[in-house]
């Protein structure tokens, strides 16, 4: 069995599955139940000056009858006194010394505030800190969370202040509510961050009740934006992780967060540069026991691939992620339909006909049976038909040998630039 333990900037945990700072890590009771269920670590629900919460806090975004494709919340940081949380962290760490406990922290952007809270937490035995610069709702209105996380200078300064007081690794959790996350990631690193984690939730309004016209969720008939997470945000999170991972200026470990629901999602985040993952929505949807399959599935995957340690796959796909200008313009794939597998729903035909390149024909064989065929010469290899096809194996995207050598847009532009001073009208 492969070694699933990870070391993220010196924080060790028996497996890469941590509970993210969120409702599941609100108390010692919950975190201990999670560790019993198999979770490798937990980022405690954000500590700070206790706040007041509202009633009616979460909302689910469904898709085609499935619940929790996305998840939205307007809950704030911990509403329990700091000393209660610290006592429970202490007890939990004592019971589970090999599991990672990270204290999520959020205070006003003042040096003394950061020093004060870090010093109070230091003694209870946490393995590290996660600075919450990402919470997009409520706290942001008070100049904390995403409000400070959107200002690179504040990210840098606060990280620096936390580091001044901390003896344990400091992870900076970044907000996705920003144009380019690498800018704040770099700021965190300038401030001395030992690691970064992403993404926090995305500004969201889960929905509007079309009958009452209230927002979803609403608090007595009034709503406010919340933070969006769950499976729907995974591609956004994965891209942000990947952009940071391939940025040479961002050279600290990444804790991946955002829509991770199972071991496969986890492998994807690890391949794209996460050293471990943090999970919340999946646990809120199904309970702590879902980690069993995450551990089991990851372990079987690594064994099957002959990989002895989960750390060995971290970042393995990062070199394959680049800019559009570095993609080969002469690479070509086309769709091919396997008529023995195809069930003739014609979804590929209508998708291609109406919305892509009109190259899938509906034909009849000599006995009058319907079949579909791709006109490969007109196929641009967009993948749409294979995406809408409901049957696995009915449409393959086939790589065609090219007569031309690989040529990227950047190479092409460089080549054209080298031709000389002749003016070329690219529009033509």
């Amino acid at each position: 069995m492969a070694d699933l333990s990870i070391d993220l900037a010196g924080i060790k945990s028996p497996n890469p599955f941590w509970l993210a700072s969120a409702p599941p890590t609100n108390s010692g009771y919950q975190v201990q139940r999670a560790f019993e269920a198999g979770w490798g670590g937990a980022v405690w629900k954000t500590l700070g000056d206790p706040i007041l919460n509202v009633s009616s806090r979460f909302a689910s975004v469904g898709f085609n009858g499935q619940r929790v494709a996305g998840f939205n919340n307007i809950e704030l940081i911990t509403d329990r006194p700091l000393e209660v949380n610290l006592k429970e962290i202490y007890e939990t760490k004592k019971r589970f010394p090999n599991h990672a406990i990270i204290a999520s922290v959020m205070v006003e952007p003042h040096q003394d505030k950061w020093h004060e809270i870090i010093k109070r937490i230091e003694d209870v035995g946490v393995d590290g800190y996660e600075l919450n610069f990402g919470c997009p709702h409520g706290m942001a209105e008070r100049g904390m969370g995403a409000a400070s996380g959107q200002v690179p200078e504040l990210v840098e300064k606060q990280t620096y202040w936390a580091k001044e007081a901390a003896s344990k690794p400091v992870i900076v959790k970044l907000t996705p509510n920003i144009t380019d996350i690498t800018v704040t990631a770099e700021a965190a690193i300038r401030g001395g961050a030992d690691a970064i984690s992403m993404i926090n939730t995305i500004n969201s309004l889960a929905g509007v009740d079309i009958h009452s016209w209230n927002t979803i969720p609403h608090v007595g008939g009034k709503g406010a934006h919340g933070g969006y997470c769950g499976p729907a945000v995974k591609p956004i999170a994965l891209n942000m992780v990947a952009e940071c991972a391939r940025n040479p200026l961002i050279n600290v470990p990444i804790s991946g967060i955002g829509g991770i629901s199972n071991w496969k999602d986890t492998v994807e985040f690890l391949l794209m540069g996460s050293t471990g993952v943090q999970i919340c929505t999946a646990a809120m949807h199904h309970g702590f026991r879902i980690v069993e399959d995450m551990i089991d599935g990851l372990s079987n995957y690594l064994d099957e691939k002959g990989i002895s340690s989960v750390m060995d796959i971290v970042g393995k796909s990062v070199p394959r992620y680049s800019d559009w200008g570095n993609l080969d313009l002469n690479y070509k794939v086309v769709a091919r339909i396997n008529n023995d597998v195809c069930i003739n729903c014609n979804k590929c035909h209508i998708a291609c006909e109406d919305t892509s390149h009109q190259c899938i024909d509906m034909l009849k064989d000599p006995s009058g049976n319907s079949f579909l065929r791709v006109r490969e010469e007109d196929c641009v290899g967009c993948n749409l038909c294979s995406i809408v096809c409901p049957v696995d194996g009915a449409i393959d995207m086939i790589e065609l040998a090219s007569d031309l050598p690989p040529m990227t847009w950047n190479e092409r532009q460089a080549f054209l630039g080298n031709i000389g001073n002749e003016s070329v009208d690219f529009v033509k």
Binding site: G65, I343, P390
Partner: protein, 454 residues
């Protein structure tokens, strides 16, 4: 007023609809499973051409009214068909998911939408602007109702003549309540009535109003009279009191208080079509202790749908294959005590392409029974057809080519009255489609006449 008793109440419960409808969650999940095929084979397989992927998509989106309207537009008896169609031979049999997972429950989803419309008292259609033309329809069964609905939408003044006390024909009187409650049939009738269609019930054409009067008073007449009772077996003892016509037998369970006179009795049903199954399962639900279907051919040749056969077996109905009744035996009081049968063997195919059963001499045996139900097909309203003076072949109205025109240019025919002799289909859904097409044909003819005159 009939006495009620716990026993009778219990028996009456047996005639409540068997299948419960889908729950909202089931409907949501099942509708989302539909692939929404392009040029979907289920549409081709539906005799009325319901746009099935669209009505299912509308369930998924929560547009139940639109869904019900999509169904009822194509099929004016779509709520009944949701319950009685042999879906595995039609839409569900054509579903592409048969080739990958399992077919969509199209019938159940259709029921879900139409049930929604019924429960929410939705009016789905409005009568068309009157065009001054009048059409008489004889019979208010699926074909007649369907024709009436389409004609009313097109602006015709439609009058339906119905011999029975209530409209609906087969759907009201002929299909067992535990498959199709009368309320469903009545809702479909009300949908048609709401388009200013007049239905004259208790009005038997040929008795209360003459055929000639209809052809004189109306611009067109549609004969949608279906079929009549079950013919006689032609064997000794069949005039005894406990020998029943299956059509009447089923009808009684839908029009009279549920009787307890069959409790503990042994019943034999002659024939193996869908009506035979209905009579047999009704007998079981009326408390009969033993019910056997007697059929002179084998399971392979029987005309009942597979799902009906399965249902009958589940209900505990027994089957005597290759068995033909030769005599109904009674005691000195005229009480049926048994049915004498002879074993059969299949010989070569006859004129209808089916292997002809021939008796094995000396194989007679007696099945002890308390009652016998005839279900060997239905006879025809030959007298009425002849009153219209139109051509027919043994009660099957002869049509002009592919049309629904009879030999009288003002008289059209659709539904079971044209079924048989290699013509038509006996399904409710086919009758509905024929009704629609008959309406369009009449419209084409009368409107072109109108243009000619102008």
């Amino acid at each position: 007023m009939s006495m009620t008793s716990p026993l009778k109440d219990g028996l009456a419960m047996n005639f409540q609809e068997v299948e419960r409808g889908l729950t909202p969650r089931e409907a949501l999940e099942e509708s989302n499973r539909c692939l929404y095929c392009y040029d979907a084979p289920c549409i081709q397989a539906c005799p009325t051409g319901i746009d099935i992927p669209s009505f299912i998509k509308k369930i998924a989106s929560g547009n139940f009214k639109g869904s019900a309207k999509t169904i009822m537009t194509a099929n004016p008896v779509g709520a009944s068909c949701a319950r009685v169609c042999p879906t595995e031979e039609l839409c569900e049999g054509a579903c592409v998911l048969n080739h990958s997972t399992k077919p969509i429950m199209i019938g159940n989803l259709q029921r879900y939408s139409t049930d929604w419309a019924i429960q929410n008292k939705q009016a789905l259609f409005k009568a068309g602007k009157k065009n001054g033309k009048k059409v008489a329809i004889v019979g208010s069964g699926p074909a007649g109702l369907s024709a009436a609905r389409e004609l009313a939408l097109l602006g015709y003044s439609v009058t339906i003549f119905e011999a029975e006390k209530n409209p609906g024909g087969l759907n009201t009187y002929g299909i067992v309540s535990f498959r199709l409650p009368q309320s469903i049939s009545y809702w479909e009738v009300d949908q048609v009535k709401s388009l200013d269609v007049e239905i004259k019930t208790n009005t038997r054409v040929g008795v209360d109003v003459s055929a000639t009067q209809l052809t004189t008073d109306y611009d067109a007449v549609i004969l949608a009279i279906g079929m009549s009772g079950v013919p006689k077996l032609g064997i000794e003892g069949e005039d005894l009191a406990e020998v029943y016509d299956a059509i009447d037998f089923v009808k009684a369970t839908k029009t009279e208080a549920i009787t307890d006179k069959f409790v503990g009795k042994k019943m034999a049903v002659i024939g193996a079509g869908n009506t035979a199954i209905d009579a047999a399962t009704c007998s079981v639900r009326l408390g009969a202790e033993q019910v056997g279907i007697i059929y002179r051919r084998t399971q392979k040749e029987m005309t009942a749908y597979d799902f009906e056969y399965e249902f009958a077996k589940q209900e505990g109905v027994g089957f005597h294959w290759l068995t033909n009744p030769s005599r109904i035996i009674s005691d000195s009081n005229g009480q049926v005590t048994g049915i004498e049968c002879v074993k059969m063997v299949l010989s070569e195919a006859g004129g209808d392409g089916r292997r002809r059963p021939v008796p094995i001499s000396g194989s007679e045996f007696v099945i002890p029974v308390d009652g016998v139900i005839r279900a060997i097909g239905q006879s025809r309203y030959v007298g009425l057809i002849e009153q219209f003076g139109i051509e027919h072949d043994g009660g099957v109205v002869t049509l002009d080519g592919d049309s629904y025109k009879t030999s009288n240019e003002k008289v059209f025919a659709c539904g079971d009255v044209i079924f048989g002799k290699g013509q038509g289909e006996a399904m409710v859904v086919s009758a509905a489609q024929q009704g629609k097409k008959t309406a369009y044909e009449i419209d084409r003819i009368l409107m072109s006449e109108a243009v000619d005159i102008a």
